[in-house]
């Protein structure tokens, strides 16, 4: 399988070229276009992170309960995948593939709306990051990515990588994913709780240790509020 990330960083689309007998997994609705002979199947995914329970867990995490599998069959084929929001897509190697791609190979914790697609060897499961996640203001649940292969992450805005060596702070609305080697705490950003609530910085995640962080430059909630505050109220 080969892939190409086109039109980065604001309108990214992933062009995947599948060799015969290959498959790729993507979130429901990600397919833009594909070769006519590719088999598309909607699944709740087998194995860990699969089945009805896996689907329900993903729904809790903010992802659709369905995942689509695209299979090439006897001949090669290609397809284009894109996320729903304007922004970026990046790829991260997991496991031994990760080490080969220059990554550390350790698993990733991904913010629920950040998952776009992955190769079959990657395990996508619900990860509960503890009660502290309740206060992050973002979704309570995170996706736990492990196994061996490549995962594609999507964002609102551009994705930038930070190599953490010591400590690093990220606003909760700007985190896409982080390596499991990092530990984090959710803290208030300013000097007082009033500041945290009214100050706009609200809550931040303070990461410690050594590992990679994937952050997004923009916050969908903030842009949504800018537009939404002027839209008429919904009729009951």
């Amino acid at each position: 399988m080969e892939f190409d990330l086109l039109k980065r960083p604001d309108s990214t689309v992933v062009h995947v070229s599948l060799s015969p007998h290959e498959e790729i997994l993507a979130e429901a609705g990600a397919m833009v276009a594909m070769s006519g002979h590719l088999q598309a199947e909607t699944t709740l995914r087998k194995g860990k992170g699969g089945g009805i329970l896996g689907g329900l867990k993903r729904m809790l995490a903010g992802e659709s309960i369905f995942l689509s599998t695209f299979r090439s069959g006897n001949s090669p084929g290609d397809l284009y995948l894109a996320p729903k929001l304007m922004g970026d897509v990046c790829h991260v190697g997991i496991g031994s593939t990760g080490s080969a791609l220059g990554g550390s190979g350790s698993g990733l914790v991904v913010q629920s709306t950040g998952y776009l697609a992955s190769t079959p060897g990657v395990v996508v499961d619900l990860g509960f990051q503890g009660l502290k996640s309740f206060f992050s203001g973002e979704s309570i649940f995170w996706l736990d990515i492990s196994g061996d292969g490549v995962v594609f992450l999507s964002s609102f805005g551009a994705i930038y990588e930070i190599e953490v060596d010591g400590s690093y702070v990220v606003d909760t609305g700007h985190i896409v994913a982080f390596e499991k080697t990092l530990t984090f705490t959710v803290t208030k950003a300013g000097g007082s709780w009033l500041n945290a609530i009214l100050g706009g910085e609200g809550l931040v995640m303070r990461f410690q240790g050594h590992g990679k962080l994937y952050c997004q430059t923009h916050n969908a909630g903030a842009f949504g509020q800018l537009v939404g505050s002027q839209l008429p109220a919904r009729e009951a």
């Binding site: 922004g87 990220v170 009214l198 923009h218």
Partner: protein
């Protein structure tokens, strides 16, 4: 301070490197991420009363954060805006000033002062808020101010008259005179969709944004039924 503007014009983001001891002030919410050893202080923007005025009538944030580098090494800070669009900087010297529309201001450094100024009822009717933000240069030397917009930013010199759609004006020289009026006659304004426009006159500089939130709202509203 060193800074790098990346991902413009759609998702312009400021990657700032604060030198040891340096300070930079930004509106609350502008910080996307920063080095763990930077500290910051949250204050009411211009004092409590001014901040409240700005928040409720000017559409600006109630708070600003002043970031400081207490270490002996340069540290990074990533600043962004809620809008999808470009970010520009203006170097303001002593005696110079510029006015911003609500929501445009992102950050500043170097002794620049930020005041809320009465914008007039017509400005409010035009949906631009009762107050505007006036940025003044420091008593001596020069300061830097960063502002953003929805879409791309175009700079334009005004000499004489210029008509601008109110939703597309981002920043302007304070000496320019503004007149908010209907685009055409009453019927013309409604049918043309242009609504209210701003007639600018005098000599000065303005900054325009290539998209308007009002335009997006008009597009989305019928889809919500």
């Amino acid at each position: 301070m060193k800074y790098d503007l990346r991902y413009n014009p759609a998702f312009a983001t400021l990657f700032v490197e604060l030198q040891p001891g340096e300070r930079l002030t930004a509106e609350a919410g502008a910080m996307a991420s920063m080095d763990g050893s930077l500290d910051f202080v949250t204050t009411f923007s211009g004092g409590l009363f001014t901040a409240l005025l700005k928040r409720f009538f000017g559409g600006e944030s109630l708070f600003v954060n002043t970031f400081h580098n207490p270490t002996s090494e340069p540290r990074t800070l990533v600043l962004t805006q809620a809008n999808i669009g470009d970010i520009h900087h203006i170097k303001i010297k002593a005696g110079e000033s510029i006015c911003f529309q609500p929501g445009a201001y992102i950050a500043h450094m170097g002794g620049v002062t930020i005041q809320a100024q009465w914008a007039g009822f017509r400005s409010w009717i035009a949906g631009e808020g009762l107050f505007k933000l006036k940025i003044q240069g420091p008593p001596q030397g020069s300061g830097l101010v960063f502002f953003g917009a929805y879409g791309g930013i175009t700079e334009r010199r005004v000499q004489g008259d210029l008509i601008v759609d109110t939703g597309h004006l981002v920043a302007y020289s304070p000496q320019l005179k503004m007149q908010i009026k209907l685009a055409g006659g009453l019927l013309g304004s409604i049918t043309s969709g242009e609504g209210l426009v701003n007639r600018l006159s005098g000599q000065g500089k303005i900054y325009l944004q290539s998209r308007s939130i009002g335009g997006l709202v008009k597009f989305l509203t019928p889809k919500l039924r």
